[in-house]
Amino acid sequence: MKSNKPLFWSLFAAGGTVAAFVMPVLLVITLLAGYGMVPEALSYERLHAVAGGWPGKIVLFVIVSLSLWHAAHRMRTALHGLGLRADRAVAIAGYGIAALGTVLSLHYLLAI
């Protein structure tokens, strides 16, 4: 492979779309839970049942991993813009966390 740019860019773009569509409503749901109004779907039994099935596992995996790759990629330009001149370190840290998060989410989802 000549350059890994297209790979990271497509993960970034896919993650940006996922975050735009899914995260606002997820935040509303987790905020409600944070104020003690836990929606039915966030009860342990319900969510465990959802994440126990393949469709649920795949959806949760896609949301978490793609959003992490989106963040990792954009964090490079964000921190550069804020004045930090350490792209190599930022890239390694960001992509490293995204890769670790991807593996961990897979691991935990398969354990449910």
């Binding site: 773009a13 940006g16 779309t17 975050a19 735009a20 569509f21 899914v22 995260m23 606002p24 409503v25 997820l26 935040l27 509303v28 749901i29 987790t30 905020l31 409600l32 839970a33 944070g34 104020y35 003690g36 836990v38 929606p39 039915e40 779907a41 966030l42 342990y44 969510l47 465990h48 994440a51 949760l60 949301i63 978490v64 959003s67 992490l68 989106h70 963040a71 990792a72 990629h73 954009r74 964090m75 330009t77 964000a78 813009g81 804020l82 004045g83 960001g94 966390i97 995204a98 998060g101 961990l104 989410s105 935990y108 989802l109 354990a111 449910i112």
Partner: protein, 130 residues
């Protein structure tokens, strides 16, 4: 004697404060960091779900900590900003051509808003919020 070249000073950490467009761009860039941290919060939720009801309850309690509540509000605002900026960018990144004509930007962005609204309502309904 060669004249000293003029180098315009650009403050490295605050350059985006002087122009509105730069400022909004920076807000959009920074939204990614919050999106990343929130993804890790979700990952924590999945981990606790795998570990059992006690761990999961600790995760739900964690969501109600003042720090995480504040973080979630900020992230909600930033992710809404991200969504509108992203939908505005999509027709530029992926123009759709039908015959000789390009589908108007507003139509593509509008379709995204519509899909986003319907999707969000369906998720809230399925989650049992209403």
């Amino acid at each position: 004697m060669t004249p000293k070249p003029y180098v315009r000073e650009i403050p490295r950490t605050t350059w985006y404060l002087s122009r509105r467009g730069d400022m909004l761009h920076m807000v959009h860039e920074v939204s990614s960091i919050f999106i990343g941290i929130y993804s890790l919060v979700l990952l924590w939720g999945i981990q606790s779900l795998a570990e059992g009801p006690v761990a999961y309850q600790a995760f739900l309690d964690g969501l109600s900590s003042p720090l995480l509540l504040a973080f979630q509000w900020v992230t909600l605002a930033l992710v809404l900003f991200h969504a509108q900026a992203w939908f505005a960018l999509t027709p530029k990144a992926m123009p759709i051509q039908i015959g000789e004509q390009f589908v108007p930007d507003g139509l593509i962005a509008g379709a995204h808003y519509l899909a986003w609204g319907v999707f969000s309502l369906v998720v809230l309904y399925l989650a049992g919020v209403f």
